[in-house]
Symmetry: D2
């Protein structure tokens, strides 16, 4: 029987709630509904155990992971009837510039973890690097789900490679989201010989992550546009409206997509799409794969970047910081 | 300079209106907007001339093709400012069981045509076969856009093959329509590991073709369901609502598609799509390719079925009658 | 303290499931969410007790009402955690032409009931009348939720009036449904001076009631059109597509409404609406009011038709049978 | 026969384009499609003549009004085949703090005008007041379509009243737009006893007016929310997403509205609406009424505010500046 992956999580937000609950749900039910890769590197989605967790908010520190995932501002729904205590007490995470002693403290907490899933809010690159350093010292692989550059730092990547530890990052794609649907439809039009006239997407959401994106300016709009145009769409025909943070949506993300095109005879074709997903599920559905890839490679002493992870990452090594 | 294809049309409905007008539009503008294959077999979309046309309605017979395409119940819009007279007078078509003399009369009218585009209403297989016979006698390729079995009749197919004349049929796909979009989205879900819960499509239209389909029962619903399930969708999860004939839509077709699925954690994903197209444009965008394929092969003395046409046909030879 | 209304139900379908569960839910929670009239005739929505129930299916007869509401083909969801047994055993209902003895048997079962809610499938007018007769003999008011004519039978109405027993019918409106939304939007356009160009609605559902409507032809389409046009809409501009029975929708009803109009300068205005409701909730939300109206009037010895009920009925006395 | 109203316009943007073209269209066709009040104060919509026009952009000054309405950034469509020259040459408008001489110059240009329609961009209150002053001196009524306070300035209002000249403002409602539809649906829910759970609206547009609103912050979001909540909606349940300026929409405005509510049994009702209008048509459809009200009252020497105009204005006298 395969040994379960021992995972430490940094940040206990909605995405970790979706991951922790989903693993428990699938372990209990044996269902594989909504799972992209039921088995990966010989590991099922239930073959993951949590062994450590870090958070900075005083309300979270010192409590069991299974409780902390439901504290506000987390608003991912309860998807499993009863979630037993995990036995993992959330530790105090790194808040400021971490010195060597602080990194050693974190490394000590990581003892026994095979994979560190870094899922704190984006925007604190020093903190991200400090956790990566602690993972290295503790002999754990590192998965950076934020847009802060860690795997794109060639020196850091080299050190993980040398240590035979995978370093997967940066920034997650989603299992299923607006860009994927929008892109697929634009591709379909092109394949069928239709000529795009104009297109837009609007994204609305209610998570803390969404609020951060809205408050930190147009970052995501541009990255969303990049996500589409890097795939070949004429950039001036596709428009992305400002993100809307709507708290009532809770962990839902809603997108409205419109596509106008010309078919034979230059006659009009129009497509209107409404997409509604749970945003954290899209992240968890990718994290479960990155964790298993990292564990599988780590057990085979394959370190650094993994080619098989590239399509799951928005900014893999080699892309612009 | 390449010789233009000389085409005869049987039936002067919306689909022929879209074809005739579209060719004139593109020839005048030089645009390629909405064209899937600007050049095929060396032929541009403007390299098609109409040389004969057949209809059964007394109001249509004896008038110029360029006028007849705008007569009711045709309701495809006028997409080109001014359409000059074509010089083709619409002939009386076959109405009943055609005897040999009648077939000879039609064959004589077809003299000089390279390709016969059979675009009459579906549901009269004897008539379809009579026109195919006339095309054979006149030395013209035959394109059957109806669901009546012609290319699926092995004896007829053999005779065309022996004569070095292409026989393309039966039944058109569309350049872009509900099944294509619905199928692409279901595929996308599957690729991303989502689990389909349920899905439906509703199709509404205002053309005579649509009215015929509605009045002749559930034919198309079943064929639409086939179109999806033949592609692997679990047949019991995808439902097709009855077609709705709504005259106000004129030549528009509107589809409402809903998809419900489960993502990670068995959380719900929903997709709602409204698609609006001009139905006859979807047919014309395929007919223009079948005509050019037929002409190209005919000029190379390749007869019978053409592999390159198979993806443009719903029921190519070998599929069930 | 007010005396609770004692209700007998005929037919134990989705609508009765919604009513029974809703009453229990509101009684338990004290909530008034989704209730149109929290108090009517001094009666809260929890002030209703079930004292008898009739069904014809052998699986239903002899079991407790609280179990029977969940038997297939009922597919209204379980909206309350735990529903205690009601203490009401479902009796065998009238299946064929009921003779006097049969009516007496039913009347005996109705002993103690103040209001009989007739919620069997439409299409059996003799049966409806037999239950009305039994109610009269038992001294109970009668609410006919089907389209079968009972309250529109002047002789029957007179006998209820003479007995001081309310007779409310025929056929329910919905608390909230397609016609209401469609009509409100068409009215709004008119008020603002827009000129309607065309409009359609499509209705999709998954209940047994829906299946019956689909199988028994276009009845509802026409009645839906009537519902709109009786309100003044130009009948030839509003089209109703065929009903679609889609089992996966379960007790949901989904409507797609489109409205196209002209504003200033004859420029186009378009409105697309998707409406999703639980169909049986729309019935229960009206039945709870009819029951309380009937009980209130009965206690005041006001019999026959009640003016205050007219707006809750599609075909009150005086309208065409 | 009634004397036509002589109107001067300040600002030659999309809204004036819609007004000028619409009047010509209706005058030519005799149609009343899309007109709220075909006759008002005895005046038809065609009974309006333009006698002066002001603009600040050098490309506009000195050219005929009928040409200027089509200059970019105006992007309202051409809705009438051919628009003859108006004979009105666009004059240089007020750009800076206008001294008395400048006001006199404008007043001289206004000679003969009965109504001045002030339709410049919002945000220059001094300029608005200078034009109002010029109108007073010229003996013309004044309609302020901007959000700058003119009619809400009690001293200015008094002077118009004393002069027997109507002063209508400030800020236009729309003939038909998002707030109207959203509000009507929320009202409908309430009437039917549904309990609102949450609701949002997103507004997207492509006009210069829209760009100004987006660039000048959340002004309109808040005013939109006010528009809804002043009508009684629980303010914390209705959310308005940031405006999206999408140039490809040109003069269209698109709104996506979602409403989630509870019906009987606390079951979910959801409504999704897409609304697409030409924004300037909504303004012109109201301006045509304000102009006729102003002219009618002026001819009767009724000056100052007009009660009949209040419902067409967002900020009539007495509301907060």
């Amino acid at each position: 029987m395969i040994e379960r992956v021992r995972v430490a999580v940094v940040g206990v937000g909605n995405n970790v709630s979706a991951l922790v609950q989903g693993i428990a749900l699938y372990r209990a039910s044996g269902s594989v509904a909504g799972i992209r890769r039921p088995v990966l590197e010989g590991l099922g989605v239930g073959d993951v155990d949590f062994v450590a967790a870090f958070a900075t908010s005083p309300e979270k520190v010192g409590r069991d992971l299974s409780e902390v995932i439901f504290l506000p501002p987390n608003n991912y729904p309860r998807i499993i009837g009863e979630l037993p205590l995990s036995g993992v007490t959330v530790c105090r995470g790194i808040t400021d510039a971490a010195d060597g002693a602080e990194v050693d403290r974190v490394a000590a907490e990581l003892a026994g973890a095979e994979v560190v899933l870094y899922a704190a809010p984006s925007g604190r690159p020093e903190t991200a690097l400090a956790y990566a350093e602690a993972a290295l010292r503790a002999g754990a692989a590192f998965v950076n789900t934020t847009s802060d550059p860690v795997a794109r730092d060639p020196q850091v990547l080299d050190r993980f490679a040398a240590a035979g530890l995978p370093l997967l990052g940066d920034d997650l794609t989603s299992q299923f989201g607006t860009s994927i649907v929008h892109h697929a439809l634009l591709r379909l039009l092109e394949e069928r010989g239709l000529t795009l006239t104009s297109s837009y997407q609007v994204n609305l959401g209610g998570t803390e992550d969404f609020r951060n994106l809205v408050e930190h300016g147009e970052g995501k709009m541009r990255s969303k546009l990049n996500a589409l145009t890097s795939l070949g769409e004429a950039p001036d025909l596709v428009e992305v409206a400002p993100l809307g943070y709507l708290p009532h949506l809770k962990s839902h993300k809603v997108a409205h997509i419109n596509i106008e095109a010309q078919a034979w005879g230059e006659t009009t074709v129009s497509l209107d799409v409404k997409l509604k997903v749970h945003d954290p599920s899209g992240a968890a559905g990718v994290n479960i794969d990155l964790i298993r890839m990292a564990a599988g490679a780590s057990r085979q002493h394959r370190g650094g970047h993994l080619d098989e992870a590239a399509s799951l990452l928005k900014s893999p090594p080699g892309t612009a910081v």
